[in-house]
């Protein structure tokens, strides 16, 4: 069979083969990319840029000035305190839950997993509401708490509880599939050879799950610091006392203090960016989400 002998003929023949780019497929390709990127640009990039543009609208001096406000500082402190309590507790829970679910077989396991995931499906407002109903003045424990002068709702404990509920599943969700996939063989070998339970966990399990753990913890932390709806319901919005950073943003914004509001927002945005950078680095280290 006499094949094509000029380069144009070869090119024309190649163009008819599957998977080979021709004019139409190139056009579609750039159309899809163009539309997708415009969508992302309008929805994601523009708002993010607007945060920093508005925060720096009156210059760097005004930007830094807004962090001198004692209420803003109190909000930052409160957010850090909340995260400092919530993240370690939820990490401990996540590791424990993952150990029991991934390492052992028992009845009702998938039900347990569904329950752990439940807070993800619940509206943040409902997440706050349930604690108000439990610990508020007319709630189950309301009268008892008032007798003993303990305040949970409209105070730090309520904020911590609501944040804990919202960020409850993050570490567990990351670790359960990872540990299930890794299997029990290495731990069983360690135990059989005489290692203790803790030793096995710290020297055999932990090194293998560390990237998944980092992943879960940073996501949990980002959500804990940024939670708005649930915390808004339980906090009572007492300025300088029970306003976390997101709530303080709302107050400043409603007072038309845009530089102040967006200055605080820019800090949280940077936290989000740092979270994504760590996440990307973790993924680059070879960790794949399941």
């Amino acid at each position: 069979m006499a094949g094509p002998n000029t380069s144009e003929a070869i090119a024309a023949e190649l163009a008819t083969r599957p998977g080979h780019a021709n004019k139409r497929s190139t056009l579609i390709r750039w159309l899809v990319i163009g539309v997708s990127m415009t969508f992302l640009g309008a929805l994601l990039a523009a708002p993010l840029a607007a945060v920093f543009a508005t925060a720096l609208h009156s210059g760097w001096a005004a930007y830094f000035q807004s962090f001198a406000d004692p209420d803003t500082r109190a909000a930052i402190r409160l957010t850090l305190t909340t995260a400092a309590v919530v993240v370690p507790l939820n990490t401990l829970f996540g590791i424990t839950a993952a150990w029991c679910i991934a390492k052992f077989e028992f009845k009702g396991k998938s039900f347990l997993i569904t329950l752990i995931d439940l807070p993800l499906a619940v509206s943040p407002v409902v997440s706050g509401l349930i604690y108000v109903l439990l610990f508020g003045l007319n709630g189950w424990f309301g009268a008892w708490l008032q007798e003993h002068e303990i305040s949970i709702v409209y105070a730090l404990p309520g904020i911590i509880l609501a944040t804990m509920f919202v960020t409850f599943p993050y570490v567990a969700r990351e670790l359960i599939p990872l540990m299930q996939q890794l299997g029990n063989d290495e731990e069983e070998a360690a135990i059989t050879l005489g290692a203790g339970g803790w030793f096995t966990f710290f020297h055999v399990t932990l090194p293998r799950i560390r990237w998944g753990l980092v992943y879960g913890v940073i996501l949990c932390n980002a959500r804990a610091m940024g939670e708005f709806g649930a915390v808004s319901v339980v906090s009572g919005n007492i300025r300088g006392l029970t306003t976390t950073m997101p709530l303080h943003i709302e107050i400043l914004y409603n007072e038309y203090n845009f530089v102040g509001a967006f200055a605080v927002a820019s800090m949280l945005s940077m936290l989000a960016v740092v979270t994504l950078v760590i996440k990307t680095l973790v993924e680059r280290s070879g960790y794949r989400r399941r």
Binding site: S36, L48, A121, V122, S123, V125, F258, L268, L276
Partner: protein, 280 residues
């Protein structure tokens, strides 16, 4: 490999204590508070309960919350597919960067995305100033609500469709094309059926998240009763009026929706796994 139905001895320690701790923590943080909500609503007079959840203001808020969430999830299904397709099939400058920032709405606090979207889409904002002369008001209307819900739902669709698209058998596509199938036919008969379960799962996840969303919506919504008032906001308003029972009743409605969504997602995932097994 574990054998099905065969009980194997487990030498690992800590089953009792980890299960106990997990169950205790779960009950204390999640189940006990949720049951407080259900019991509070159950303690209401039934006629009053029905009254609260079917009041015109509540019905208007369901309509808005559902309509806007449905629209937002549908937009995400279309554009999310486009984004996932671009990331999986094409190579373009900045692809890795785009892939990394898809998760931004997960990490960005909702209050921040709320005020940022309002600023961009307000009448004098970067994008709003071009839409306003065309008669499209985004901020403080239902369109703005839809935009906010689209933003927070976007990663759900992209992140579920992406791995499914990567799974599509390229050899099958090439074979079909060699046998004379057009690109559109290949798309319709090979690609769409493979990614359909993932696409629907992503849609449901985005919808479930959008229905309950509060933070990013209230800034851009305008919050006019009967017009731009979402159901979660109505719960907050009832709480501020110290109408705990009314808030609990609406909370139960939202919680029931969450359960239905959770069930739908689980069923979709089972269906998707089954389809994947059949196609192999």
């Amino acid at each position: 490999m574990k054998m099905v139905g065969q009980k194997e001895p487990n030498v690992l320690p800590g089953f009792g204590i980890t299960l106990g701790f997990t169950t205790f923590f779960l009950c204390a943080i999640v189940l006990l508070p949720l049951s407080a909500l259900v019991l509070k609503a159950a303690g209401m007079d039934f006629a009053r309960f029905v009254d609260v959840i079917t009041s015109p203001r509540a019905l208007a808020s369901y309509r808005l919350s559902f309509g806007a969430s449905m629209l937002a999830a549908s937009m995400n299904m279309v554009f999310g597919f486009g984004i996932a397709w671009s990331l999986v099939r094409y190579d373009f400058p900045g692809r890795k960067f785009v892939d990394a920032i898809i998760d931004m709405p997960f990490a960005l606090p909702t209050a921040v995305s709320g005020i940022a979207l309002t600023t961009v889409f307000a009448a004098n904002g970067w994008i709003g100033q071009y839409l306003e002369p065309m008669g499209i008001k985004v901020a403080y209307t239902w369109i703005g609500i839809t935009v906010a819900l689209t933003l927070i739902g976007m990663p759900f669709v992209v992140r579920t469709v992406q791995p499914a698209l990567a799974e599509v058998n390229r050899d099958l596509e090439d074979a079909a094309e060699t046998l004379g199938a057009g690109r559109f036919y290949v798309f319709r008969r090979i690609i769409v059926p493979t990614v359909l379960p993932a696409l629907l799962t992503g849609f449901t996840l985005a919808f479930a998240r959008a229905v309950g969303e509060y933070g990013s919506v209230i800034f851009i919504a305008g919050n006019m009763p009967m017009k731009t008032e979402i159901t979660p906001l109505l719960i907050v308003i009832r709480l501020e009026e110290f109408d705990y029972a009314g808030a609990a009743a609406l909370g139960v409605v939202m919680l029931s929706i969450s359960f239905v969504m959770l069930l739908a997602i689980n069923l979709l995932q089972v269906w998707g796994r089954k389809r994947l097994m059949v196609s192999r």
